[in-house]
Symmetry: C2
Subunit: 475 residues, 2 copies
């Protein structure tokens, strides 16, 4: 494709995307296709000759769009959001255009230095402790996802605990234990599996039945039991905004106990962490000054297209110690000078995309002010939604909701709650998902699309309410 062709087709694609956002409310939020339907509309074999770009765009409308669940739709309330935004899309487009691979500082110094710089910017914006900044022993790096962050946190923890031996001699099964709450993301269990500890090494910290936050006393019990059995506590993962209900663990208390036993403390704030761009939500950072690593995802709720997991460590040497291998073909004078960061040693992959560009574009376009407004609008809408739920006797709130996730259920029980979800999702008017809280099915109203306004949240409530039998009360 020549630059002139790129100019022409590029405009068409930009227009297609702009048009998509203008008509996004015309689509059912949840795709209505059956398994196999998309593949059946595609040719069995790849083309022998090249095809016009217009055909790709036409098939996008004809074949692909019916199979899209519209994550950017203002009535997408499922899972956690996966924010896209204009500046992020364009920042990522610039990264694609430049096509650089920043595995080493030398392979594009700007890709490394801009990343270090915007990670410091983001630490400032979120009010994170100084120990995570690059001017001391710490530093930030963009990981693919929070699952990858949990994995490398575990590897760094093993490196530190073992004095640098596990990466050479391997894991002795049954020797190490990892702790996190039952509310926490399955990523921690996956990290235990991947890192060779096995899922059995994971201890689930009991949660308070009301706050759903991990109980520090139970962590202490678990650790004491392990230590007595000769098992080494290697990692404690505290959640700030756990996946099920958005529970916030008492990080300071958990970290204090972990540190008494030399365990690494990782704080997974994948969804909620970015909310601390608003100073009134900085209570979420309490205790993070005691953490060894921390992650939050601008690709969830901070307007930066997937993938962009922001991960910081207080001691980058442990991370690099766990992951650095230097084959001859990657040796270069900048690396040997010790004056630069080579981000390939900060994660599992060798190659890396210039992801800092999109985060840079987002922070500059919105400014701190714009980012705060984005978070505040969703928090405010969620509080209003929760007030409607609370006022209706057919429903009940099942967890605290200080941010933009409201977890609730029908008093009629699990079957009715699940059936309600299926009815509203099948309507295509909105999409929300469920979890289980204290053994009961609960729905999750997760507000986070940049396009969501009060009218969308009100319509969602009207739909949920209208699809529910029984008396509407207390208005």
């Amino acid at each position: 494709m020549t630059p002139e062709e790129f100019r022409a087709y590029g405009r068409q694609v930009v227009d297609w995307i702009a048009d998509y956002y203008e008509r996004i409310e015309s689509f059912p939020v949840l795709s209505q296709v059956a398994p196999g339907e998309i593949r059946a509309a595609l040719p069995v074999d790849p083309p022998e000759q090249g095809e016009p770009f217009a055909d790709v765009l036409a098939d996008l409308d004809r074949v692909i769009l019916p199979g899209i669940t519209h994550w950017q739709h203002p009535s997408f309330f499922a899972f956690f959001p996966a924010n896209a935004s204009g500046p992020a899309i364009l920042g990522d487009l610039l990264a694609s255009g430049l096509g650089v691979q920043g595995m080493l500082w030398a392979t594009s110094p700007a890709a490394t230095e801009l990343e270090t710089h915007v990670m410091d910017w983001l630490a400032t914006l979120l009010g994170l402790p100084g120990r995570f900044r690059s001017d001391g022993m710490g530093g930030g790096v963009i990981q693919h996802t929070a699952s990858d962050a949990a994995l490398v946190a575990l590897l760094a923890a093993l490196h530190r605990t073992s004095g640098g031996s596990t990466e050479h001699v391997g894991i002795a099964a049954g020797r190490y234990a990892v702790y996190t709450s039952g509310q926490t993301h399955s990523s921690v269990e996956k990290a235990c599996r991947v890192a060779g500890l096995g899922g059995d090494a994971l201890r689930k910290i009991e949660v308070d039945p009301v706050t759903l936050a991990a109980r520090p006393e139970h962590l202490r019990e678990l650790i004491q039991r392990d230590v007595a059995a000769g098992i080494t506590p290697v990692l404690v993962v505290a959640s700030v905004g756990a996946t099920g209900t958005g529970a916030v663990d008492p990080v300071r208390e958990l970290a204090t106990i972990a540190r008494e036993h030399g365990a690494w403390v990782h704080v997974d704030a994948a969804w909620a962490g970015v909310a601390t761009v608003a100073p009134e939500l900085r209570w979420l950072n309490d205790g993070v000054d005691l953490a060894d690593s921390y992650c939050t995802n601008p690709h969830k709720w901070l307007l930066t297209n997937f993938d962009c997991d922001a991960f910081w460590v207080a001691d980058r040497a442990a991370l690099i110690g766990a992951l650095s291998i230097l084959p001859e073909y990657l040796r270069n004078s900048a690396t040997e000078s010790g004056a630069v960061i080579d981000y390939r040693d900060w994660h599992v992959p060798l190659g890396r995309r210039f992801r800092a560009l999109k985060l840079w574009a987002v922070i500059r376009w919105y400014g701190a002010e714009g980012l705060r407004a984005h978070i505040r609008s969703h928090v405010s809408l969620a509080q209003e939604f929760a007030s409607w739920v609370a006022a209706d006797e057919r429903f009940e709130l099942v967890a605290p909701h200080p941010l933009a996730l409201v977890t609730f259920r029908l008093r009629d029980g699990d079957d009715a709650t699940r059936a309600l979800m299926e009815r509203v999702n099948a309507s295509g008017e909105l999409y929300l998902t469920h979890t289980v809280v204290n053994d009961n099915v609960a729905l999750r109203m997760s507000i986070g699309s940049p396009l969501t306004e009060r009218r969308h949240v009100a319509a969602a409530w009207e739909k949920l309410s209208g699809e529910t039998e029984g008396h509407v009360s207390a208005e």
Copy 2:
């Protein structure tokens, strides 16, 4: 950013990229900045108020471009290529615009089904064995990088070898061994570290001093020694186009030995595998029908922007067995029906970008014919370059060069060879990197940029030759 603003700035970005490709030859290939220079040009603090998008574009020219090593430059001959192309950039832009997260089939059926479909297309294009196709027990998935592919291959191997126990009980250090050649990418050692086997579990298979391919007899010896010591051979990684010199291992012989001992066979063809789009290069696939998994990177040499590692397994159940965890909040009727693929269970991350769109756009725009022409032009240029090296008595070729990587050195020795590399790279006229072959420093002329023409390769040779002392012979 409103759709109308996006339309306007999107055009500016598209034009910026088209302009970049029109002027790309005006930049030094290797960035000439010193450590810290890029950061020093950036504001210390993030902006409080949002800034105009034009300022981002201006800083791209002012601050970022000087710090770019231009991977798409026609005289970039370093490492392996990281191909970008118009249709890939636009396919990825569409993925950013749609902003869907395809962790589950239900979260965008088209993202999953198009991926399965184009991975079958690619298997067809590369002449891969039918067992990797999705209509049997196997199937393909896009991984982030070949390092990630090596890691999940190891996890699947451990699952199979242990009868599904390692993911629960963990790794017993010293119990398992992994085999690959000393020429093979450090990703295999990294995978051993990450998966808890430790680097010590890696056995390096000796290579033939001429072909630099792994010696099957040595693999047999290593395995026999391990088995006698009670160590289980879990994985053999064969390379097709190893990183140092592009060596091609005898896959059929290695795989035959591995299978006798129940070890999983992974073929890492990250760079070279895509070359088999040209039928005359299908000899590279010999023995792949005996492999359990295989990967090649369209993001290296098949015109598809990073990241796009194409990974196939012959038995997807082993991969899913190693990685699947189903928390309540991800349960859904499509998953429970068993009729769909949930790609979150095929890799470490949970979230995933709609990467199939760019591969689809590339295959459709170029067609099989265009992809073959792309590969053939680089192979042909490399053969011509090698003939120039061979004809000059100051130089010597140090490894076979059947594809587009030519490894060579100065007969004057390591210091002279390294100094030559440093001189030509500092000129900014071209960029190439080095490796060590049979204990000698060698330069790697890796031809793979879509923009590289004969004149660029000829100019590179002229520069290398002109910067070398001594008599120019045999023309």
